[in-house]
């Protein structure tokens, strides 16, 4: 569904954010895009959606080059940015003006999502709280029935019940022909929703692996003492939370925060395991 080859991108010509970044994404998955502040998560998403243009390299999204911004591609992309602007109109007017760009827009589904998110329909968008606005654009984005769904920090601003609703909605939104990419720092909001982890660091992809592959190769567990097999560890109440090679085919639960810190701290030890 998405092929990125040797992408070079920078906001200034002298300082590249991505150097020869390559990656392939396929449909039927929810990808979790992780990285430190400034690692380029939002920028990568903007590249995919044709909102910024690379210096060089090639990008193929559903058979199109997003930088050309052809309507046939854009109607298949739903992009939920972290920062957004909504006009001073009510929801029905907003839909009337914007849904026409998406030939597969599903009005009854949109209505049901608004109800699920408990959105006051009669209110002007501009008078809603940040969280309510966010839920409106998430509902609108999913109702477009786009094949590529890109979400930048979608759970920011959502209250506690809305986060659970969001997870339910995303679990049902994943279909065989859809590709969902979610960038987030709130890993605990989403860790059971993501099936493949993409981590950006130092101008490129530091790790891209499915949860199954990660827990096949690594084991995450609490240990009392640290020995030389431990790749990375953090002290905890009852010893250490450790990441180590999965020599004994143990089943463990992926700890995304621990993995994140392990990738940042021990890239050289992890690289050979995933190649």
């Amino acid at each position: 569904m998405i092929k990125i080859n040797n992408l070079n991108f920078g906001y200034s010509k002298h300082q590249l954010l991505f150097k020869n970044l390559s990656m392939q994404l396929s449909n039927g998955h929810i990808y979790g895009l992780l990285g430190k502040n400034g690692a380029g998560k939002s920028t990568l998403l903007k590249n995919l959606a044709g909102l910024v243009y690379a210096e060089s390299g090639s990008m193929d999204v559903l058979g199109y080059n997003p930088a050309k911004r052809q309507p046939a591609l854009l109607e298949q992309i739903c992009f939920i940015p972290e920062e957004f602007y909504l006009p001073s109109v009510k929801i029905d007017a907003y839909v009337k003006a914007n849904a026409v760009f998406y030939p597969n827009f599903d009005h009854p589904y949109f209505t049901s999502l608004l109800a699920e998110f408990d959105i006051p329909v009669g209110q002007k968008l501009i008078n809603m709280s940040y969280g309510q606005k966010k839920k409106v654009i998430i509902a609108f984005g999913l109702a477009t029935n786009a094949k590529l769904i890109i979400m930048d920090e979608p759970t920011n601003g959502l209250d506690i019940p809305s986060k659970a609703q969001f997870r339910k909605i995303m679990a049902s939104a994943l279909t065989e022909d859809r590709c969902i990419i979610i960038s987030t720092h709130q890993v605990r909001d989403l860790d059971n929703l993501i099936d493949t982890v993409i981590m950006l660091d130092e101008n490129s992809v530091a790790l891209k692996a499915s949860v199954e592959e990660i827990t096949d190769k690594l084991v995450f567990k609490r240990v009392k003492e640290i020995d030389e097999t431990v790749i990375y560890s953090e002290p905890s109440l009852a010893g250490f939370n450790a990441v180590m090679p999965n020599f004994h085919k143990e089943d463990s639960k992926l700890d995304l925060e621990l993995l994140f810190n392990a990738v940042l701290a021990e890239k050289n030890k992890l690289k050979p395991i995933f190649n």
Partner: protein, 124 residues
């Protein structure tokens, strides 16, 4: 359902399905929740639920009827018990044994406590 923090999610979902079968909430030949329904209920990725269902299929606990969905298999009850027993013996019993040994708990005491527990919990 509350997920614990140390066990793979697809295995926790498997335990959840097994418990439903053991408690008779899902009976032999009855349809189990679809992958999508289960994913929505538990707020997890549908691919994770698919992995669980593949595991349970391999253990002959559920079976896939093409085009209709997943059903509780004929010998599910026996197979669930075998599966859970193996897991208990491999994972939980060593922890119990360790404490029994470290705390010098005698088998007589264990037996008495076990009998009281069964009486209080299962035949009140």
């Amino acid at each position: 359902m509350e997920f614990r923090d140390n066990k793979a999610i697809y295995l926790q979902i498997a335990a959840y399905v097994c418990e439903h079968i053991l408690l008779g909430k899902w009976k032999v030949d009855e349809k189990v929740s679809s992958v999508r329904e289960m994913a929505v209920t538990l707020e997890v990725n549908p691919n994770t639920v698919m992995r669980t269902y593949e595991l349970l299929q391999n253990k002959n606990i559920i079976s896939n009827k093409r085009g209709i969905g997943f059903f509780v298999a004929e010998d599910a009850l026996k197979n669930v018990k075998d599966y859970l027993k193996t897991q208990f013996i491999e994972e939980e019993l060593p922890v119990v044994f360790r404490n029994v040994y470290l705390l010098n708990i005698g088998f007589d005491e264990l037996e008495t406590r076990y009998n009281t527990f069964v009486k209080e919990t299962f035949n009140p």
